[in-house]
């Protein structure tokens, strides 16, 4: 299908700024295009416009956008869409039924549906049969299944919206391979949106970058600057051990297999520990133990006398500390920042930790304002945390952990799905914490992060 945009502008409901302005773009039938650009540049808005799924209410659209000469909404029957979140795209309980879902919606008879289902599952390299339970699949497998569901409808236009952003590197590679093998005939126009351009380059014909000043066409042979380019990070001072895990393991109640097999490690002031390993090795569980959020079911996690200080129970095990005591000693950043937000304003959000750890209101406010300034979020001081972009939310969640000046920081996948600019900011921020003598533990799949930041590494194997 042929896509044509002329002078396209989009403004979302209740926003003052235009998400897109003056977009001119032509995509020929069968072409494979990558739309890249920083978070918040309007890539996903452009994709939503092409898919005809822009929020109808209150959204202002100027200029012209056509799919095969008609409005995008009218081309919906020939559209295939693969979005970011693997968990909110599957409908059925079995893999085959899910691929069949879109064909049933088109009113096709069963004798046509099943051969097409098998064909689509084979095309994406789905490794299981039709009867496989969808909830037993990994993220990468779910995304391949969603892709099969889109392909089975024989789309003329395939739109992929950051389809690998929530996957680990193995899962992401699986999805890209599936896209490549499933679209050999050039029967469909393919548009991929991703801020991480590099891995898609072998797959696409053309790269267009969405910038605040409009679209930039990149010629053949273009490569994005590596995000580590020119990055100089300060080292940390030689500190003592603040927190240690001695053969700490964890098994969920009622489960026979351990989530984390006994692991031993130490967090030192002025050092960054990177915990790596494939999915299911218990990386995040180890983070929960180190953060004092769960008690190890075997072994111990103990804090040094320096870190423990005057806690009421006198225990050196962080999981026994009260939340108000924990928050000023160990700062934790979860993988999904929105799960940690408590208030309706950024400024209040940053003051929560200091107040909870017993500081005065005025001091808490001063800390909050200072952090907002340093992270370039002052303009949003009164905004609701939920309205921030993904990169901004991530920076805010790190800032909330820093607000109480804890000596230990534990972060779960801090760079997951972040664009190059946010990535560099986060890495720099963490290096600053190290330089101030803090101990930092990051759980991550991100090889670049480990490369530039890790002083020590702990690679977890299967439990």
């Amino acid at each position: 299908m042929r896509l044509v945009a002329r002078g396209l502008g989009v403004r979302h409901a209740s926003r003052r700024a235009w998400a897109l302005t003056g977009v001119d773009l032509v995509v020929e039938p069968g072409e494979r295009l990558l739309l890249t650009g920083a978070s918040g540049a309007g890539k996903s808005t452009l994709l939503a416009a092409l898919a005809g799924i822009l929020e109808a209410e209150g959204t202002e659209v100027t200029g012209e956008l056509t799919v095969d000469g008609g409005p995008p909404r009218a081309a919906r029957g020939r559209l295939g869409l693969l979005a970011q979140d693997p968990d909110s795209q599957l409908v059925m309980t079995r893999a085959g039924d899910d691929v069949a879902f879109g064909l049933e919606n088109a009113g096709l008879p069963p004798e046509v549906i099943w051969p097409r289902v098998d064909e689509a599952l084979a095309a994406v390299g789905f490794p299981y049969g039709r009867d496989r339970a969808t909830q037993a699949l990994s993220g990468g497998e779910k995304q391949r299944l969603v892709l099969a569901g889109a392909l089975a409808r024989r789309p003329g236009l395939l739109l992929l919206d950051e389809p690998t952003a929530q996957l680990d590197p193995d899962g992401a590679a699986l999805v890209r391979t599936a896209v490549a093998r499933a679209t050999p005939g050039r029967t469909a126009t393919v548009v991929v949106v991703d801020h991480d351009a590099e891995p898609w380059l072998p797959l696409v014909d053309r790269v267009v970058e969405v910038t605040p000043d409009g679209l930039v066409q990149h010629g053949p042979g273009w490569r994005p600057l590596p995000r580590t380019a020119g990055l100089r990070l300060p080292p940390g001072p030689d500190g003592t051990v603040l927190l240690a895990a001695q053969a700490a393991g964890f098994t969920y109640r009622g489960s026979s297999a351990p989530a984390l097999s006994p692991s031993t490690t130490a967090l030192r002031g002025g050092r960054v520990l990177a915990v790596t390993g494939r999915n299911g090795t218990g990386k995040s569980t180890l983070a929960l133990l180190l953060a004092g959020l769960r008690a190890p079911t075997s072994g111990r996690v103990t804090a040094s006398a320096d870190l423990t200080g005057a806690v009421r129970t006198g225990s050196d095990e962080p999981h026994r500390w009260r939340a108000g005591e924990l928050v000023s000693r160990i700062g934790t950043v979860f993988q999904h920042p929105e799960q940690q937000f408590l208030t309706g304003r950024l400024r209040d959000e940053l003051a929560v930790g200091p107040l909870r750890s017993g500081r005065q209101a005025a001091a808490a406010r001063a800390t909050a304002d200072e952090l907002l300034e340093r992270l370039g979020l002052s303009a949003f001081a009164d905004a609701n945390p939920y309205t921030l972009s993904g990169g901004q939310q991530r920076r805010l969640s790190v800032a909330t952990a820093l607000a109480t000046s804890p000596q230990v920081l534990v972060l779960d996948e801090p760079t997951f799905g972040q664009d190059a600019a946010t990535w560099r900011e986060l890495v720099t921020l963490l290096a600053e914490q190290r330089a101030q003598g803090r101990a930092v533990a990051v759980v991550t799949h991100d090889a670049d992060l480990v490369e530039v930041l890790a002083d020590h590494r702990l690679a977890l194997g299967p439990p």
């Binding site: 898919a51 799924i53 919906r76 029957g77 559209l79 869409l81 979005a83 979140d85 968990d87 909110s88 795209q89 599957l90 409908v91 059925m92 309980t93 079995r94 039924d97 069949a100 879902f101 879109g102 064909l103 049933e104 919606n105 088109a106 009113g107 096709l108 008879p109 069963p110 549906i113 339970a133 969808t134 909830q135 037993a136 969603v146 569901g149 889109a150 409808r153 929960l288 953060a291 959020l293 769960r294 009260r322 939340a323 108000g324 924990l326 928050v327 000023s328 934790t332 979860f334 999904h336 929105e338 799960q339 940690q340 408590l342 929560v352 930790g353 107040l355 909870r356 750890s357 909330t400």
Partner: protein, 253 residues
């Protein structure tokens, strides 16, 4: 907790071979009889028959059975107790009867959920009872999000501890904490729900074309037999109740 809510293909429960609409018809029969009788014999016979179906629904593991039924057992016990303690003329027998009634009404639902893939239920409802496909498959998609919510509850609770928020032993603080977590979950659920709606929209759901069904849903003689069995059990229950002199229909008096 997660296990009892999780949905998915059922590992070959024999009861799953009975068409869901036949199971629902049998449930309606049983419900009508139980709602109109106030004695102890009728629900006792019905519950005994329902318990015989547990193995067929794959509920042979006692721990699994308890996980799925403890709220029901708790509810039934309290209904019985409250009636005995607070009512002037209620005897222990009446209390037991009322408790059994609650079990008899709810157990078929437990059996259905345990034995039947929700997709087959949606198929059967839309094909045989002409339920709107928009409603049936929309509800099905929403149902898939429930286990995700359960898993998320725990991680939001831990996330609050990292911010210095926990309830300790104060019940008021605990209620507030759960309220706050529920709000966070709700925000997440609304967003996920709208993403799911978009994904379904993009696959042509509810686009005005008459939807076909790839699996179909057939009614067999065994389905009629199952409903007849339910009717028979109810007849036996009422007959033995009348013969034993315990029969006390709700309309008389």
């Amino acid at each position: 907790m997660t296990a009892s809510l999780s949905l998915g293909p059922v590992p070959d429960a024999r009861l799953g071979r009975i068409n869901p609409v036949a199971q629902l018809t049998a449930m309606i029969v049983v419900t009508l009889v139980l709602l109109t009788s106030l004695d102890v014999v009728t629900p006792a016979v019905v519950v005994a028959a329902e318990l015989c179906l547990l193995p067929a629904a794959g509920l042979t593991d006692l721990r699994d059975l308890w996980r799925r039924t403890w709220p029901l057992v708790l509810g039934a016990t309290s209904v019985g107790l409250v009636n005995v303690l607070l009512s002037d003329d209620a005897t222990v027998v009446t209390g037991v009867g009322l408790g059994l009634r609650v079990v008899g009404l709810a157990l078929p639902g437990v059996l259905l959920v345990a034995s039947t893939d929700p997709v087959r239920l949606a198929d059967a409802l839309t094909i045989h009872w002409r339920l709107s496909t928009r409603f049936a498959f929309g509800a099905l998609a929403a149902l898939r999000l429930v286990p995700l919510l359960v898993a998320e509850f725990e991680s939001v609770r831990l996330a609050r501890r990292t911010r210095g928020v926990e309830a300790g032993r104060n019940p008021v603080a605990q209620a507030r904490l759960v309220g706050g977590i529920a709000f966070t979950l709700l925000v997440g659920a609304v967003r996920r729900g709208s993403r799911l709606a978009t994904a379904m929209d993009a696959r042509g759901f509810d686009s005005g074309i008459r939807r076909s069904n790839a699996r179909g849903s057939r009614l067999h003689p065994r389905d009629a037999g199952f409903v007849a069995g339910a009717v028979l059990v109810c007849a036996v229950a009422v007959t033995s109740s009348v013969l034993s002199g315990a029969w006390a229909p709700i309309f008389v008096g």
